[in-house]
């Protein structure tokens, strides 16, 4: 698909982006705004990704647009239908001149021109024929996105991806998308997905409730009374908090403040140390006072992860991230917290004091990195036999530091089989929506999509806004929900959603397609880069109420 290289053209995808301290090349300049989100590691993951989109309608091309622009490696559109006038009317990546030609080819033509370094392929075979003849075709991709397929075909595709994987870890993730008028549904089938960097917004713990020895010693050595007013106003808030807590514990048999009253008393002691009342460093310390009594813990999500079977039972073929997690569980068992991340927030103080403090944190982090490496060594020796292999296993010093920096943001998701949602789960979600009484009502819209699929299965067409079709939709929805334990008439949220889905007649509205295409692309980027946290469950989009809601299944 590469076109002739012009003066401004972008180097091929194999060229790595320029390092952050060099003047950027054209490619880095082009991708600058996204590299600030997922860095060169995320970018190279994108550039190795091969994405299949099944069907070439408006939602499909809208999704692909958002993946071609940031520079995925390659994409394929699988679609055997010709472009109709209606297709050219709702799809920005088709043109009226292409009516009658193949929809995959026309879509690829207009998408590929967005980015010369992305390879686009049109496959004009019928998805169902291909599922019969060559199911391995589907497992050769990094990610498969199925858009507005017949439900039976969705099921077959999901089955092919499950059968094609020997373990959940190897299963190609599948995103299943349906749109109807102002409604849409985004579902997934994943085996196991690991997030290596969640980009959590909570800064790493400074562990001020149990200051490490060098920090405690440093803080004790600061004699506040001996300081002139300038120096006094520049004692960092971290030191003020460590001192205050230390003084408290020395007069309380080494105990931490526990009750609300004790915590307030501790805060008062901090305030009492002020000289003038408006010192900026004290303002900061008071705002951060809660850190004195907030115990440093291992986040519950991390704790759960460390006892997961994928971590407790390593095999020789486990990816490096599981070696790190296993080592982390040894570390946590021994020390009770995560290895220190030496990122200091800015604070009111002098340059030299700040640098001193930063050096203290760095030295401590360095020590803990060594302790962590011991745990890693033990792990490697248990499973592999030799620590000498660490570099080749992706467990080198640089990777260790990277892991420690992101440790609190590592997540492992286990997905479930597509089509395994039980009626009782839907009823329970519906009851939750009704009880909360708030927007949105995702379970109602979900029920409408199921009823619409049942209708399609029975008639081979989408429901229309007629009394007969509405009545039949209501029957399908009632049947499903009754099977899940629903008693009596269906709630208004469901009947409204059924009415809207009949009105929609399976239409792919350009704005709905664009919005869903954006959401699917965001999730695809998260799956591919293993950065940020992807959806766990099914997202229902309701553009009548201008809401989205995620169901847990």
């Amino acid at each position: 698909m590469s076109q002739t290289a012009g003066a401004q053209s972008i180097p091929e995808a194999t060229v790595t982006v320029a390092p952050a301290n060099a003047r950027p090349d054209d490619k880095t300049r082009r991708y600058d705004r996204q590299l600030r989100l997922w860095a060169s590691s995320g970018q190279s993951a994108l550039e190795s990704a091969r994405i299949l989109v099944v069907s070439g309608g408006a939602t499909s091309t809208s999704t692909l647009k958002n993946l071609v622009l940031p520079g995925i490696g390659a994409f394929t559109i699988l679609d055997h239908f010709p472009v109709t006038y209606a297709d050219a009317g709702n799809n920005f990546f088709l043109h009226i001149d292409g009516v009658g030609k193949n929809r995959a080819e026309e879509g690829v033509k207009h998408l590929a021109e967005l980015n010369d370094s992305v390879k686009g392929t049109a496959d004009i075979r019928d998805v169902n024929t291909l599922l019969d003849s060559d199911p391995d075709f589907f497992t050769s991709f990094t990610l498969v996105i199925a858009v507005n397929l017949v439900p039976a075909t969705e099921d077959r595709l999901a089955q092919a991806l499950r059968s094609g994987a020997s373990t959940p870890r190897e299963m190609v993730p599948l995103m299943i998308v349906r749109t109807a008028g102002l409604y849409a549904m985004i579902g997934t089938q994943i085996g196991e997905h690991t997030v290596v960097d969640a980009h959590a917004e909570t800064p790493p713990s400074l562990r001020l409730d149990s200051a490490f020895p060098a920090l405690l010693e440093y803080s004790r050595a600061v004699d506040l009374d001996a300081l002139d007013s300038t120096d006094f106003g520049h004692v960092p808030w971290i030191v003020l908090l460590v001192k205050t807590l230390d003084n408290w514990r020395q007069t309380h048999d080494g105990q931490m403040p526990k009750t609300y009253a004790e915590k307030q008393e501790l805060k008062k002691q901090l305030e009492k140390m002020r000289r003038r009342g408006d010192e900026e460093n004290f303002d900061e310390a008071v705002a951060q006072a809660y850190r004195m009594w907030t115990p440093t813990t291992v986040p519950s999500e991390t704790r759960d992860l460390l006892t997961d079977q994928s971590v407790t039972t390593l095999t020789a073929s486990s990816p490096s991230i599981f070696y790190f997690l296993r080592a982390l569980s040894l570390f946590v068992n021994q020390y009770g917290f995560l290895p220190l991340v030496p990122t200091l927030p800015d604070m009111h103080t002098t340059t030299s004091t700040y640098v001193e403090l930063q050096n203290l944190f760095r030295a401590q982090a360095e020590q803990e990195t060594l302790l962590f490496e011991n745990c890693l060594k033990t792990t490697v020796e248990e499973v592999k036999g030799s620590w000498d292999e660490r570099e080749s296993l992706g467990l080198g010093r640089a990777e260790v530091k990277e892991f420690i920096r992101n440790a609190a943001g590592v997540r492992v998701f286990k997905g479930r089989k597509w089509g395994s949602v039980q009626p009782a789960e839907i009823v329970s979600a519906l009851q939750n929506d009704l009880e909360s009484g708030m927007l949105p009502a995702p379970a109602a819209v979900y029920s409408a999509f199921l009823a619409s699929a049942d209708f399609y299965g029975a008639h081979g067409r989408h429901p229309r806004p007629t009394d007969a079709d509405n009545a039949e939709l209501l029957q399908f929805a009632t049947r499903r929900l009754t099977a899940g334990g629903w008693e009596g008439e269906l709630p208004e949220t469901v009947t409204t959603a059924l009415g809207e889905i009949a009105r929609a007649q399976g239409s792919d509205i350009p704005t709905t397609a664009a919005l869903v295409g954006g959401m699917v692309a965001q999730e695809a980027i998260k799956f591919i880069t293993r950065q940020y946290v992807p959806i766990a469950g099914t997202c229902m989009v309701d553009l009548i109420k201008s809401t989205t809601g995620t169901l847990p299944f």
């Binding site: 012009g6 401004q8 952050a20 301290n21 060099a22 003047r23 950027p24 300049r29 082009r30 991708y31 600058d32 705004r33 600030r36 989100l37 408006a58 647009k65 958002n66 622009l69 520079g71 109709t84 006038y85 209606a86 009317g89 709702n90 920005f92 009226i96 008028g181 102002l182 985004i186 969640a198 800015d346 103080t349 340059t351 700040y354 640098v355 927007l439 009947t495 009415g499 809207e500 009105r503 929609a504 239409s507 509205i509 350009p510 704005t511 709905t512 664009a514 919005l515 954006g518 959401m519 692309a521 965001q522 946290v533 992807p534 959806i535 009548i544 109420k545 201008s546 809401t547 989205t548």
Partner: protein, 432 residues
């Protein structure tokens, strides 16, 4: 504009079933549709032949908005943008190609949309929103903003609110505003004077980090402090007569080298080329997918307002894509003391020992005011004037005086600034 010729619309071809999908929403009402909605030809005729819509910005959001509006059937679209295309736009602004770098965004975008969707008329204006007056804005039924600056939004919002004539419902122009940052974004519907306006919600914006000058000059701790030192203090010192151009890589290179040297001197780590550029240009990460979501949300609402086919957003949609797909839809309340749509004066607490200069810093920092480089007067007495030069020089000595020496408690200060599209009245409340 000289050699730039305006693109012309391509006549609508014979196009049966062009709106087959969209028509499902216009032919029949749904259960949530307003009972006054009459589906069919009249609403289609209004949308496709009469409705005039203005798009502000042809950048990340603007490109998406224009494409969506054309496909939804808005036939008379206008777009304003003052920028030209940069290579860093190409990762998301999908109407532009490498060959377009340097050309005006509004014109290239208009041309592209008209060629891809024949029959659509897009009228570009390559210039500033401030070039146009009320009579221009009055011709539109709706305005969608896809802007990246707070100042431009405040101006547009204040202009549309100011246009409202209670006796003329046509003077109320719904403004739909979108914004994104990384995986996050928001879309909102503003019905001037009837719902919360942009100014009402100014305090919801993420607080922009402002580094105090004394930190930058004397006690740098972060790499950002060193970069600010290079751009705010060193550049004007070394090049008193040359304006810094953050788009010029040679200028960034110079700042990067100066900042690196200073960082080394103070043993601060982390100054990079990329960070230097990010800090001096205040770069906000941006990706195609988030822009697609927010632009589509804006256009869905524009379509719903123009056709009444479904109730419109009331009035704020917030998206957070960093952790699953999470969004929150809520009604943002009008702020009684909003200087644009409320009109009351704002009480402002002032510490007694604050100098006028410190007070001016506080005006920039306060989230609900954000007045940069303000001029301040009380009654007819000028406390500090940014311009003209003579007046600035004459009022400059006041900067070092305490505000409590210049005005009385409860005095009302009039604040004007180029970032404020209106005069702000503040009532001083001296504290401790």
């Amino acid at each position: 504009m000289g050699d730039i010729s305006l693109p012309t619309p391509i006549p609508a071809p014979a196009w049966p079933n062009r709106f087959q999908h969209v028509d499902t929403l216009l032919d029949a009402p749904g259960p949530s549709t307003d009972p006054e909605f009459v589906g069919g030809d009249a609403v289609k005729d209004f949308l496709r032949n009469h409705c005039k819509i203005l798009v502000i910005g042809a950048g990340g959001l603007g490109c998406e908005i224009l494409a969506n509006l054309a496909l939804m059937g808005f036939a008379d679209i206008h777009v304003i943008d003052m920028d030209t295309i940069d290579i860093s736009n190409l990762n998301r602004q999908f109407l532009f190609r490498p060959k377009d770098v340097g050309k005006p965004k509004a014109i290239v975008a208009a041309e592209f949309v008209m060629s891809r969707v024949p029959g659509t008329k897009v009228t570009p204006y390559f210039g500033k929103i401030q070039d146009k007056d009320e009579s221009y804005y009055m011709q539109f039924n709706l305005v969608i903003c896809g802007l990246d600056s707070v100042e431009a939004r405040r101006w547009m919002n204040a202009t549309l609110v100011g246009m409202v004539d209670e006796d003329n419902p046509e003077s109320i122009k719904p403004m739909i505003d979108g914004g994104t940052e990384g995986f996050k974004g928001q879309a909102r519907v503003i019905i001037p004077t009837m719902s919360s306006c942009y100014e009402c919600s100014l305090d919801m914006l993420n607080k922009q980090t402002v580094f105090p000058i004394c930190t930058i000059a004397n006690t740098p701790r972060l790499p950002e402090h060193c970069i600010e030192w290079a751009s705010v203090l060193e550049w004007p010192r070394v090049f008193p007569d040359k304006k810094m151009d953050t788009d010029d890589p040679d200028h960034i290179q110079w700042l990067y080298e100066r900042a690196s040297a200073r960082a080394q001197e103070f043993k601060i780590e982390g100054v990079t080329w990329s960070l230097t550029q990010g800090v001096v240009k205040n770069i906000i990460p941006a990706i195609a997918s988030t822009n697609a979501i927010i632009a589509a949300s804006c256009c869905t609402e524009a379509f719903k307002i123009a056709t009444s086919c479904a109730p419109s957003l009331n009035n704020y949609f917030m998206l957070i894509g960093t952790d699953g797909i999470y969004s929150y839809t809520f009604q943002h309340e009008q702020r009684k003391e909003c200087p644009v749509c409320g009109g009351a004066t704002i009480d402002i607490p002032v510490k007694k020992d604050w100098t006028l200069e410190r007070f001016i810093e506080a005006l920039a920092e306060r989230q609900d005011i954000q007045a940069k480089k303000p001029s301040i007067s009380v009654g007819t007495r000028q406390l500090y004037m940014q311009a003209p030069k003579q007046l600035e020089a004459k009022t400059r000595p006041n900067l070092e005086k305490k505000l409590s020496e210049l005005v009385e408690d409860k005095d009302e200060l009039i604040v004007t600034a180029s970032s404020l599209p209106f005069n702000l009245t503040l009532k001083v409340q001296f504290k401790g």
